[in-house]
């Protein structure tokens, strides 16, 4: 019978000189799920993903991947694929040539997906014969995903897979990952984008300074009794404000950035129960509720609380593109590419769309 656990790590420690990158990390990931890895810059996410991919070995602790213990050799178990610090692609080759070259590296008889099919899956079939040199970061991310899919992995390890993706690209990538998991594979991904993690992951592990500060189901994190800030847009903001002030457990936040972006927006801080009561009262007062969304998602709120972000690393800065690999020496090529627009046409911009679906942006 196949082991139900895809990854089991116990007391994993990894140091680089005097720097402790991972400190007694425990990690358990069940098969057939998407597991998120979150943490501030320098938390050890990339190091942990590197261990899973066989790029490094732990100094101490034990690690089992797909049921098999990882030894001291620098080699990933079969069935593991993915990338850290961005996909490795060769700009002088076309998308198809990149994948064909990779497929050529597979041992004889190894399972290889059809190149055209994986390109189709990630939405790059139309640019299959274009040189990767002209690809945007988002397209390269998708091609990197296609390269990882080529080996039909049982465990897919991805570092910031949504980096640089436009909404349609993000949707495509989410679809690919969900299909992969539905077929029985396991995905471990790191991301700074809480909306991605909330949309994809059933469980998350939060790392801070090399230690695990939370690991478990996402809903457990969301269900913590914690007051959150919510954007409330109504047909009569002044009347809604008055109702909110009279509702027990609800605090009206004045001067919020979210308020500044619209006259009809009210920001309130409350637990879920108090929020429910507020909505009921507002509706009874014949005030139409047009929008209700957390300013900061539950995951992000938990992330900030658990990792004790210093003021200079508040979500505004993270949302503006400071992924971990930049802090660790991201190549100039990738930094430039991040500024390059996605070549595929952007969908019509909806100013009300992003705050709801990307709480980080809402916090700007």
């Amino acid at each position: 019978m196949e082991n139900a656990v895809a990854v089991r790590g116990l007391g994993i420690t990894k140091t680089f000189g005097d720097i402790v990158a991972l400190d007694q990390v425990d990690l358990n990931v069940a098969r057939g799920q998407i597991h998120g890895l979150v943490g501030p810059n320098g938390a050890g996410k990339t190091t942990l993903l590197g261990l899973l991919l066989g790029l490094a070995v732990a100094d101490s602790g034990s690690l089992e991947i797909l049921g098999d213990p990882v030894g001291r050799a620098l080699a990933a178990p079969d069935g593991v694929s993915g990338f850290v610090d961005g996909p490795g692609l060769y700009p002088t080759l076309t998308a198809k040539q990149n994948l064909a070259a990779l497929a050529g590296l597979r041992p004889r008889g190894a399972r290889i997906a059809d190149i055209d099919q994986v390109l189709e899956e990630v939405g790059l079939a139309t640019v299959a014969d274009d040189k990767v040199r002209g690809f945007s970061l988002g397209m390269r991310q998708r091609l990197g995903l296609a390269a990882a899919l080529l080996t039909r992995p049982k465990l897919l390890v991805l570092d910031e897979p949504a980096n640089g993706l436009d909404p349609s690209g993000k949707k495509q990538v989410h679809g690919v990952l969900n299909r992969l998991v539905a077929d029985g594979a396991t995905v471990i991904l790191s991301s700074h984008r809480m909306d991605d993690l909330e949309a994809l992951c059933s469980e998350v592990t939060i790392l801070a300074t090399g230690r695990v500060v939370f690991s478990g189901p996402l809903n457990k994190l969301s269900a913590e009794d914690r007051e959150l800030d919510y954007r409330l847009r109504t047909s009569d903001p002044e009347a809604a404000r008055a109702v909110a002030r009279e509702t027990p457990g609800v605090e009206v936040i004045e001067g919020s950035d979210a308020v500044a972006r619209g006259d009809d927006v009210l920001v309130v801080r409350a637990q879920v129960a108090a929020l429910d009561a507020l909505v009921a009262k507002v509706v009874r007062a014949d005030i139409a509720v047009r929008e209700l969304a957390p300013v900061v998602s539950p995951l992000e709120a938990a992330f900030l609380a658990l990792t004790e972000q210093p003021p200079e690393l508040q979500p505004e800065q993270q949302a503006e593109g400071q992924p971990e690999q930049q802090a660790e020496g991201q190549p100039e090529r990738e930094r430039q590419a991040e500024q390059q627009p996605e070549l595929q046409p952007e969908p019509a911009h909806n100013p009300e769309h992003h705050p709801e679906h990307n709480p980080q942006e809402a916090g700007r």
Partner: protein, 454 residues
């Protein structure tokens, strides 16, 4: 707070760590990358077409590059062109090619940020190293072959398969010249390999730093500079680039093979040593740390110091086994070389003028050479050598006398500039029944064997 899943029993099966990719597949992957780069394609085009066009074009000019070895013979034979190209290649082209190809083969992965991807895909540092080294070597060999074939074709198209005048003035038939030209190109593969290995070492040790890319070029320029300095012969021969010069010895009679063979062996030793050092540095590199794209302090302990040690050891071994000492340019050697070249070229001149042939024994050519008009040590490089050449013509009682001003370089090569009777070596043209032709005795190139000849 750490929440974990329920414990599940671990599989007892043996860990199915994926087998490394066969090195042949990795090599194919590396070659695909190499040949997809526009600069490599451009180099291939230039190396396979450039020399032919250049040699053919020079052959059409009235002025020849007479300051380049064999350049003065480009109008006489098609075999001079590839030797001119070889001299240029050893000085500029081959160091540049090795820099662009071998000096970048590892560093390009740093630049592109693809190391982790490569290691995940191939799962063997050793195979990656072997494939990259072989791939860069393959490209270099293709480029060198292009330079050789192209220059030979260009020369033959321009002037045909005619006899070549050697560095001691003796005449090589077209067939002999062909064999020696090809052999000369094969000989320079040894120092080229040494530069390739140094390129690999620089590419690994210095990562994306431009210094890694430039290392073979800088080392080659450094060696050329050293060859211009009055260094002891043993040091000169212990430099890995000496075979870029010592192929000259193939074109004397008897051939000066010892410096050539020593140069080749030293170059191959350097090639092996630098490759091993590059391999060790590569295996020790930490690919998990993105900020570290080179070997750091190991550059000194595993790169510079061992090669300095190798230079010291090879210098000692060469000095002990070859008997090489001092500058190697002694008065008797200079005299012998000038007299021999004069005798050979005199016979050529006689033939051009349709005079009765004479033998070298009949000529009894001799040279008396003084440096700095006899002041100071009569040895070493310099443009202050002056030779008085005497010879006898059968049936003529007078002894012929003419003079040569010599510019002897530290590597033993010299240019002799004639100063004597106009019909012998005093003018750049001589009158023949077919018209005026370049005078072979007016100026000629020669070579002094730096090693003891007896």
């Amino acid at each position: 707070m750490t929440a974990t899943l329920a414990e599940a029993p671990a599989s007892e099966a043996a860990p199915p760590v994926a087998r490394p990719v066969p090195v042949g597949r990795v090599l194919r992957f590396e070659l695909v990358k190499q040949f997809s780069a526009w600069r490599v394609r451009l180099l291939i085009l230039l190396c396979w077409l450039g020399p032919a066009v250049l040699v053919f074009a020079i052959d059409q000019q009235s002025t020849l590059p007479s300051d380049t070895l064999f350049g003065r013979w480009m109008h006489a034979t098609g075999w001079a062109g590839p030797l001119v190209a070889l001299g240029f290649a050893g000085t500029w082209a081959l160091p540049l090619l090795t820099s662009v190809v071998a000096g970048d083969v590892f560093a390009s992965e740093d630049r592109l940020g693809t190391w982790r991807h490569l290691i995940i895909a191939i799962r063997s540092h050793r195979r990656i190293f072997v494939a990259k080294a072989v791939a860069s070597l393959t490209v270099i060999l293709l480029l060198v072959t292009g330079l050789a074939v192209s220059s030979i074709v260009g020369g033959l198209l321009a002037k045909g398969n005619k006899p070549l005048i050697g560095l001691d003035g003796h005449t090589l038939s077209g067939g002999d010249a062909a064999g020696k030209v090809v052999l000369a190109w094969v000989c320079v593969l040894a120092p080229t390999l040494a530069l390739v290995a140094i390129g690999l070492l620089g590419s690994i040790a210095l990562g994306r730093s431009p210094m890694g890319l430039l290392l073979p070029m800088l080392v080659a320029l450094g060696m050329q500079l050293a060859q211009m300095l009055p260094l002891p012969v043993a040091v000169r021969l212990a430099l890995p680039g000496y075979a870029f010069i010592s192929w000259n010895g193939l074109f004397t009679d008897p051939q000066q093979l010892r410096p050539l063979l020593i140069g080749i062996v030293v170059a191959l030793v350097w090639a092996v040593a630098a490759t091993v050092l590059a391999y060790l540095l590569f295996l020790r590199r930490d690919f998990t740390n993105l900020t570290n794209d080179g070997a750091g302090r190991r550059v000194v302990s595993l790169g510079v110091l061992p090669l300095v040690g190798l230079l010291a050891v090879t210098t000692g071994v060469v000095a002990a086994t070859s008997g090489a000492g001092g500058s190697g340019i002694a008065q008797d050697k200079v005299q012998q070389s000038v007299a021999t070249a004069f005798a050979h070229l005199y016979r050529l001149q006689e033939a051009q003028m349709h005079r009765p042939p004479v033998t070298e024994a009949q000529l009894q050519a001799a040279a008396s050479c003084l440096k700095t008009e006899g002041h100071g040590a009569q040895e070493g490089a310099g443009n202050d050598w002056r030779c008085t050449v005497t010879w006898h013509v059968p049936g003529v009682t007078l002894t012929g006398t003419s003079y040569y001003q010599l510019d002897v370089t530290a590597n033993g090569r010299y240019i002799a500039d004639g100063d004597g009777p106009q019909e012998v070596n005093g003018y750049f043209l001589i009158a023949t029944p077919g018209g005026d032709v370049p005078n072979p005795l007016w100026q000629f190139d020669g070579n002094v064997d730096l090693l003891p000849t007896h």
